[in-house]
């Protein structure tokens, strides 16, 4: 079965979504990430969606659930690289990405996670 690779970078996990995901792949990612947050004792999750041409309500909800699950497991989630057209569409669609931290790119997202480490520890 297809899986989206999860990379480890220090205390954080990095996921780059590069395919037009079908729904099952998105659900698998959610479960894989929860497992890895615990097994790697990760403190943060960085999700790069710069390759995603659209974020519909399903993917929006999935991102929200990943952020909630990670927070429950004591890790913060930052979504990075959202395209401008995707942001415009999401707002018009009415999908609230509430509770999800965002940053413009991977570097800024990493800085954000590192700052959150300093704050919480």
């Amino acid at each position: 079965m297809d899986r989206i690779p999860i990379l480890r970078m220090g205390a954080f996990l990095l996921v780059t979504i590069q395919v037009d995901m079908h729904d099952r792949l998105a659900e698998t990612l959610q479960e894989d990430l929860a497992e890895r947050v615990v097994s790697d004792e990760a403190r943060g999750v960085l999700i790069d969606i710069s390759s995603l041409e659209i974020v519909d309500s399903f993917i929006g909800r999935m991102l929200g659930r990943i952020a909630m699950i990670s927070a429950t497991l004591d890790a913060r989630t930052v979504v990075v690289g959202m395209r401008p057209a995707v942001a415009i569409t999401l707002v018009e669609l009415g999908i609230p990405l509430e509770g999800i931290l965002t940053a413009l790119d991977v570097e800024k997202g990493m800085e954000m996670l590192e700052k959150s480490l300093d704050q919480w520890d």
Partner: protein
């Protein structure tokens, strides 16, 4: 107005949602939609295709290219033979849901397109048509 029946795609499995998004994208580009217009139309197509699959128990989408003097449009007609929607007015409200979603599929999709048309018969199925126009083509 001339209507070109472009293709009919089945929506009976999750993989079909990816196919519907791809076909929509190809035509949006062909019709000269800009990036935001493309993104809105593909997102609306994705929402409605998922409704057809999840709530309608599967169905199909007709893809049409509309040509009028001075403008072109892309129309997608989603049809299923599912249980139908008892109260369309209620279903079109933000936040209304019967499944595990946020219930924004219909009202949200309507905001992403120029024309939105829905009809439904209990026990027979639901038909949703969306159109996005591209004006001033030369």
């Amino acid at each position: 107005m001339s209507v070109e029946q472009y293709e009919i795609l089945p929506i009976t499995a999750e993989e079909d949602l990816v196919r519907v998004r791809r076909a929509t994208r190809v035509l949006c580009i062909k019709l000269g939609f800009n990036l935001v217009e493309q993104t809105k139309m593909i997102t609306a197509a994705s929402e409605l295709a998922r409704n057809t699959l999840v709530f309608g128990g599967g169905g199909e989408v007709q893809i049409q290219v509309l040509l009028e003097p001075g403008c072109a449009g892309l129309r997608l007609i989603f049809e299923d033979n599912g249980p139908g929607i008892p109260n369309i007015e209620l279903a079109m409200k933000d936040g209304y849901t019967t499944g595990n979603g946020l219930g924004l599929g219909l009202s949200g999709s309507k905001r992403l397109v120029n024309e939105f048309d829905i009809s439904s018969q209990i026990g027979k199925g639901t038909r949703v048509s969306i159109t996005r126009w591209k004006s001033n083509i030369t």
